[in-house]
Structures are given as C-alpha cells and as structure tokens.
C-alpha cells in the first residue's frame, strides 16, 4: 500500500509523451501559447503554483503522445530557461534534457517597439537572442534593432 502521509503530486502519469517541468508558474500561459498547446487534441495535464525550491512556484505540463522537435521546444527557453524535459515511453522516463536558448527566433513574439515595421505591415517577426546575464536574455529585433525583454514580450 502506498504511504498516504507522503505528499503526492496531483498530476496523473502518462504512458507515452513529454513532461515539461520547472516552468515558472507566472509564465505557464505564455508557454502554452508559444507551443500552441491549445490546438493539441491529445490529453494534457497542467499543474501550476506547485512549490519549487529553485523557482518559488513552478508549473508542470504533461502531454500525452506529444514529442517536440528541439527547435520548437527551445523557444520556451526565453521565459523558462531552466525547463526540463522528460520523454516518457511506456510509463518510464527514457530521456531527460534541459531546454537550450536558441540564437534566433521567428514569429512567436511581438516586437515591443510600436514604430517597428512588424507592428505596422504584414511582416513576420524575427529576433536575435542576446545573452544579458546568466539568468536572462534579451531579444534584438532583426528589423528595427530595438531590444525587447522576454519578461514583457507579447506572444502571438
């Protein structure tokens, strides 16, 4: 019998898929938007405001039968630089990795400069990711060259 005194995470296990852990709780909804999870039809479980020593409050996402390409999942590194990925096959973790900050991102965020061509014409956004310090990055718009802080970025 399981030890009922031990606190258990109220998020059910998945057979096959991806678990994204260590997402800052405040950015959960941005991560959902960036990865387009609102369009996925398989089972997804979200947990948020879970206690975390490192982040204070973290979120966790369990996606059944979903596997990401590196270039897609790495987009969330802008706001969740410590996010960890567990690939689950047959209820077992078969692969563990951490997201990597990409050098360039296209089309997921709005440029913060209202006078940028991307906010005034039908132009897809593109940013260079610049290291600001160990914990943070800055986004330099490929077009207007202005800096957008990922903390303030608006996701499409």
């Amino acid at each position: 019998m399981a030890d009922s005194s031990k606190p258990k995470l109220q998020v059910s296990a998945i057979r096959n898929g991806t678990v994204i852990d260590h997402v800052p709780a405040k950015h959960l909804f941005k991560v959902i938007a960036i990865l387009g999870l609102d369009k996925i039809t398989t089972q997804i479980t979200f947990g948020t405001n879970l206690e975390s020593k490192k982040l204070g409050h973290k979120a966790i996402i369990k996606l059944s039968e979903v596997f990401f390409k590196d270039e897609d999942i790495n987009k969330i590194a802008l706001i969740a630089p410590h996010a960890k990925l567990n690939i689950i096959k047959n209820f077992k973790v078969t692969e563990k990795s951490e997201v990597q900050v990409p050098e360039k991102i296209k089309g997921i965020a709005k440029c913060g400069n209202p006078n940028c061509i991307t906010n005034n014409d039908h132009v897809n956004t593109a940013f260079y990711v610049l290291p600001k310090d160990k914990e943070k990055v800055a986004l330099k718009c490929h077009y207007c060259e202005k800096i957008t802080d990922p903390e303030d970025m608006e996701v499409f």
Partner: protein
C-alpha cells in the same frame, strides 16, 4: 573594387566591416578629386522617400546625376500608391522591376531591412524612423578623416540629444573601430542609452559623461552637435530650461585645438549660434557636400562599378 560590397544592401552601419568603411572613404576621396566619372550611365536608381528630406534626397540625386545615372521615384508618400493603401512589400516588388538600385527613406523602423529582403535589387537605407541612417554615418566619418587626416585616437565630443539621435548612435558604433575617446554632453533626460555604454565598456574604450557644456572642449578634435527637440521632454518646463544650455557660441571656441572641427548632421535650429559660421572650425556645410562624394562611392561599390 571591393567584391564584398557588391550587390549587398546597406541597411545598418553594422553591415559594413572596418575594411568596407575604409574602402568607401577611399572611393569617396577619389570622387572628390575627380567628380566627373559617368559610371552610372544606363543605370536607373529608384529614390523612394516615404517622408520628406532635403539633404539626403538631394545629395543622393545629385550624386546619381553626377555619375550619369537616371533617377525615378517620389519625394513624399502623398505622390505614391501608398496613399491608396498599398503595402510596402507591393511597392518594393513593383519598383524593383524598374531599377537597378533602391534608395529608401521610411518613417517605420525596420522598413529598410524588410525592403531589402523583398527586393531583387540592393537597397540603401536613407533613414528608417529613429533606427539607422548609415550613409549619414559614412559621410560623418569621411568628414572626420578629411579634417583630421586620420580616424584613429581622436577625442570625439557628442553634444545634444544623445538618447534618441540615430546619427549619434551610428557614429558612436562606427568610431569604435578607431580607438576613439568619447565625451557625451547632454541634459540628464537625454543621456546615451545604457546599451551603448555597455558596448564601449566591452570594447575597452574610454568615455566621459557631462551635463555641463562649458570649459570642457579644450582637448576636442571633433564636436558633433545635434538638435534637442521639444517633443523629447516629458516636462515642457524642463525643455525651456535646457534648450539654451547646449548652444555652441563662437566665444566658446577660444583656446580650443587648431585641428578642432564642428560637425552637425543638419538641419540646425539654434544649437550652433550663427556667429560660429564664420569660424574656420565650422565644418557643417562642407560636411553636407561630402554627402555627395560618399553616396557616389556607396552606390558605385554596391553596383560593382
């Protein structure tokens, strides 16, 4: 001929390496000595000014005429199809069928980079909003080298609106190739943005910030004056207090170095007093002439001529 510059758009001063910059200035010097070189004969250049400009447009058009090329285009968006709601992409896609090179000024930042991605011909950015104006920077560098005989190891004073002034930012970046010592003179509200100071620190270049514009210019080699605009101030009273504090007067030039020259991207309002115009250290009108030689050099290099 510099093959690296051929067919390549010039959108930001960062698009040019130190070697490209030197190469452009050398060619401009050649055009200054011998301005009658019909290199653009048979070429059509589109001059698309979505917002008005006097110096930049006329000096480009003068440069094209002197090189024997033909100009097509418009001087304001009111005389183009933009008025009918045409997108920038469609305008560029259409115009690039009619020309060998596009020169463009546009009020939106990033518009020139976008145009260069859409166009089949090279694009020269003649100013995109508050972002970049690389041909101005190159003519500023030309004027500095012409008056100082070198670009290395100079004391460069930048005065006025150092926060929003695009010419200041591009000049600061370009001069970082030449071991420059910078002096930034501005009201506290219009200081050089932090990112540029970080950039200079990384390159281990010296810079000093001043809010007072008196008794500090005795070791200046170049004073680059810019206009302080009323709309940049959140408090209009602050503007009224500030506007006369950053005015260069002839009396201030006493005791300055012989080689000192005063530059200004123009137009000026009152930041350089008229009494400076007669001083041999005033160089802003010859600087405007240098725009023609520099633009001749840029266009010829891009067209591989």
């Amino acid at each position: 001929m510099n093959r690296r510059m051929k067919d390549k758009s010039l959108i930001s001063i960062d698009d040019y390496s130190k070697a490209d910059i030197i190469n452009t200035l050398d060619r401009a010097e050649d055009f200054e000595r011998n301005p009658h070189q019909p290199l653009l004969e048979g070429k059509v250049i589109a001059s698309l000014f979505f917002e008005p400009s006097t110096r930049t447009r006329l000096s480009f058009e003068s440069a094209i005429s002197r090189l024997g090329g033909k100009v097509i285009g418009f001087a304001s968006k009111d005389s183009s199809s933009v008025q009918k709601g045409e997108s920038l992409k469609d305008t560029i896609k259409t115009v690039n069928n009619y020309c060998d090179l596009i020169i463009m000024r546009h009020p939106l930042e990033g518009s020139a980079r976008y145009a260069s991605e859409v166009a089949d011909v090279p694009v020269i950015n003649a100013g995109d909003g508050a972002n970049q104006h690389p041909t101005q920077t190159l003519l500023d560098l030309y004027s500095i080298r012409q008056t100082q005989g070198k670009l290395d190891d100079l004391n460069l004073f930048l005065v006025g609106d150092l926060k929003y002034g695009r010419t200041v930012h591009s000049l600061l970046m370009a001069m970082s190739n030449f071991n420059t010592t910078y002096h930034f003179v501005s009201p506290p509200e219009l200081r050089v943005p932090e990112e540029y100071k970080m950039f200079l620190k990384e390159k281990k270049l010296k810079f000093h910030e001043h809010t007072d514009f008196t008794d500090i210019i005795s070791d200046a080699d170049i004073i680059y004056m810019t206009r302080i605009q009323r709309e940049r101030f959140s408090d209009p009273m602050e503007y009224e207090k500030t506007k006369n504090s950053y005015v260069l007067r002839n009396s201030m030039l006493e005791g300055t170095k012989d080689n000192l020259r005063i530059l200004h991207p123009l137009p000026r309002v009152n930041e350089i007093h008229d009494d400076v115009d007669e001083n041999k250290k005033a160089y802003y009108f010859p600087q405007a002439l240098n725009g023609v030689y520099t633009r001749m050099a840029i266009m010829s290099s891009i067209l591989g001529l």
